[in-house]
C-alpha cells in the first residue's frame, strides 16, 4: 500500500491528495472498517454539496453499530462512489481503494496541515 500521498483524521477518515490538484479522495481506514465490522448501508452527501471540515457528511451503518462520516477538509462534493450503493461491503474489502466514499474539491488547501501522516495515524491507533 502506498501511503505517501495519504493523510488521516483522528476520526479514521483518510484523504488521498495530489500535489497538482485541489481534488482529494476520501475514505475510512482499514482499522476503522475492521472495527465497524460488516457494513450494510452507506449514506453519502449529494453531488455538489458543500461540506465543512469535521462536519458529519454521511452515515455508515454496520450490523453492530452506526458511525458518522466526517468531512476531513472543507469543500464541494464533486463525485460520490455510487458502487457503494449496491456493495457497501467494498469498504470492508478494500477500504483504501475500491471502498472510497467521495471526492472533494478543497476550498482551503491549508486544512491538509491539520491531518496526520500514516506513521502518526498508526501511532494513534497503537499499531506502529
Amino acid at each position: 500500500m502506498e501511503f505517501e500521498h495519504m493523510l488521516f483524521t483522528s476520526e479514521h477518515e483518510w484523504v488521498r491528495f495530489d500535489d497538482e490538484s485541489d481534488v482529494v479522495i476520501v475514505g475510512i481506514s482499514e482499522y476503522a472498517a475492521k472495527e465497524l465490522g460488516d457494513i450494510v448501508f452507506i449514506e453519502l452527501p449529494k453531488l455538489g454539496a458543500d461540506v465543512d471540515r469535521s462536519e458529519a457528511m454521511g452515515t455508515i451503518e454496520a450490523v453492530k453499530t452506526v458511525a458518522d462520516l466526517f468531512a476531513p477538509v472543507s469543500g464541494t462534493v464533486v463525485e460520490v462512489n455510487t458502487a457503494l450503493d449496491g456493495q457497501p461491503e467494498l469498504v470492508n474489502k478494500s477500504p483504501f481503494e475500491e471502498g472510497w466514499f467521495v471526492k472533494l474539491s478543497m476550498s482551503d488547501r491549508s486544512e491538509l496541515d491539520h491531518l496526520m501522516d500514516h506513521d502518526a495515524y498508526q501511532n494513534m491507533i497503537g499499531e506502529s
Binding site: D38, V40, F41, V63, K64, V66
Partner: protein, 370 residues
C-alpha cells in the same frame, strides 16, 4: 470491575482470531470470519456456537416439577422424560424475570437453562420460592457445564460424523424437536437437546468442561466437509432476530410481561396457580397495554434498540431489536407499540432522520427447526 470469566473454549476462540468482547461477565467471541458470513453459514450449511456462558440449574427431589409448575408460566406437568419446554418465569405483577428452557431429565430431575446475564437473579428468585419442606433442591451447575450449539441444515450430519457421537447415531436420527437424550462417554455425562436459537435444524450439547475442547476440535475437523463455521454472538443475535425469538434485555425485561412480548402461547392460565397468574389473567382480560410488532423499513438504515416509533408527530413506541437481515436483505425491526396506536405504517426516528416503516408479520423468517 471483577475479572471476566472464560469459557472452557476461550483458547480455541483466540487461536481462531475471534474478536472477543465482554458479555454477561464472560469474555466471549462476538465474531470470527464476519457476522454476515457466519450468519449465512448457519442458514445454508452449519455453524457451531460456544454458549457455555448460559446458566444451568438442576432441580431434584420428588416435588421438583410441582414446584417448577408454580414458578414458570408454561405447563410442565405434561413434560415426559426427555421433553423440553420453552417458558418464562414472572413475578407476582406479571413482569418477566427471565425466559428459559425446562428439561425433564430421564430419572426425574429438571435441568433449567437460563440467560447468562440473569443467572444470579434467577437463582435468587427460584430459591425464594422453594418449598420449606425440603422436597426440592436447587443447584447452580453453570460452572461445571459447557454448552455448544450446532445449528444449520447439516447439523445432524456433522454430529453423526463426530467420533464422540458414534455410539448414539441412531438416537440422533430419532430425536424429535424439543426433546433430549443423555448418554455417557467414559465417566462423563453428555446431554444432547434438539433445540436452538437460530430457526434452523439444530442441537445443543451439554458437556463437562474438560471434554469441551475435544468436542470442539472434533466438530472442526469432521465439520469441514460440511462447511462448518464457528459463529459468534453477533450472528447468534441476527439469526435469532430473523426467526423473531425474544432476547432478554430487548423484547423481554424486568418491566415487560410475556403477553406484551407475544408469548401468550407459553402462558397457560388454565393450568392452576403459578407466580404472576392473577396479574397475567387481568392483563389478558383488559388487553396488554402494548404490542410487539414487526416492521420493514423503507430505507436501509438500521433501527436500533430504543429508537422511537412515530405515528405522525407522536411517539407511540420504541424499537426493541433491529438489523439489516442478511437472509431477507431488508432492514427489519421489532418494536413495542402502544395498543391504542396500532396501525399498518409508522416511521422510525433513526438518529436525525425519519424513516418510513410498514408492519410485517412475525416471524420474519419462518423456523425450519422442526
Amino acid at each position: 470491575m471483577t475479572e471476566l470469566k472464560k469459557t472452557p473454549l476461550h483458547d480455541a476462540h483466540v487461536e481462531l482470531g475471534a474478536r472477543m468482547v465482554p458479555f454477561a461477565g464472560f469474555e466471549m467471541p462476538v465474531s470470527y470470519a464476519g457476522i454476515i458470513e457466519e450468519h449465512r453459514a448457519v442458514r445454508q450449511r452449519v455453524g457451531v456456537f460456544d454458549v457455555s456462558h448460559m446458566g444451568e440449574f438442576i432441580l431434584s427431589g420428588p416435588g421438583a416439577f410441582d414446584y417448577l409448575n408454580r414458578v414458570v408460566t408454561n405447563d410442565c406437568s405434561k413434560l415426559v422424560d426427555g421433553g423440553v419446554l420453552y417458558t418464562v418465569m414472572c413475578r407476582q405483577d406479571g413482569t418477566t424475570v427471565d425466559d428459559l428452557l425446562v428439561c425433564r431429565m430421564p430419572g426425574g430431575q429438571a435441568l433449567v437453562v437460563v440467560n447468562a446475564s440473569n443467572i444470579e437473579k434467577d437463582f435468587a428468585h427460584m430459591r425464594s420460592l422453594l418449598p420449606e419442606d425440603g422436597t426440592v433442591t436447587l443447584e447452580d451447575a453453570s460452572d461445571r457445564t459447557a454448552l455448544l450449539a450446532v445449528q444449520g441444515p447439516f447439523s445432524r450430519d456433522v454430529l453423526k460424523s463426530c467420533p464422540l457421537f458414534s455410539p448414539v447415531k441412531d438416537t440422533l436420527d430419532g430425536l424429535a424437536y424439543y426433546n433430549l437424550f443423555r448418554y455417557r462417554i467414559g465417566g462423563d455425562e453428555v446431554v444432547v437437546s434438539r433445540t436452538g436459537y437460530t430457526g434452523e435444524l439444530g442441537y445443543e450439547v451439554f458437556i463437562p468442561p474438560a471434554r469441551a475442547r475435544e468436542f470442539w476440535d472434533e466438530l472442526a475437523s469432521h465439520g469441514k466437509p460440511f462447511g462448518l463455521q464457528p459463529v459468534g454472538l453477533a450472528a447468534r443475535d441476527t439469526l435469532r432476530f430473523e426467526a423473531s425469538f425474544c432476547l432478554y434485555g430487548h423484547e423481554l425485561d424486568d418491566n415487560t410481561t410475556p403477553l406484551e412480548a407475544g408469548l401468550a402461547w407459553v402462558v397457560k392460565l388454565k393450568k392452576g396457580g403459578f407466580v404472576g397468574r392473577d396479574a397475567l389473567l387481568a392483563e389478558k382480560e383488559a388487553g396488554p397495554r402494548r404490542k410487539l410488532i414487526g416492521l420493514e423499513l423503507e430505507e436501509r438504515n438500521i433501527a436500533r434498540q430504543d429508537y422511537p416509533i412515530m405515528h405522525g408527530v407522536e411517539v407511540v413506541g420504541k424499537v426493541t431489536s433491529g438489523t439489516f437481515s442478511p437472509t431477507l436483505e431488508k432492514s427489519l425491526a421489532m418494536a413495542f407499540v402502544d395498543r391504542d396506536r396500532l396501525d399498518d405504517a409508522y416511521s422510525v426516528q433513526v438518529r436525525k432522520k425519519l424513516v418510513g416503516a410498514t408492519v410485517t408479520p412475525l416471524p420474519f423468517y419462518p423456523s425450519r427447526a422442526k
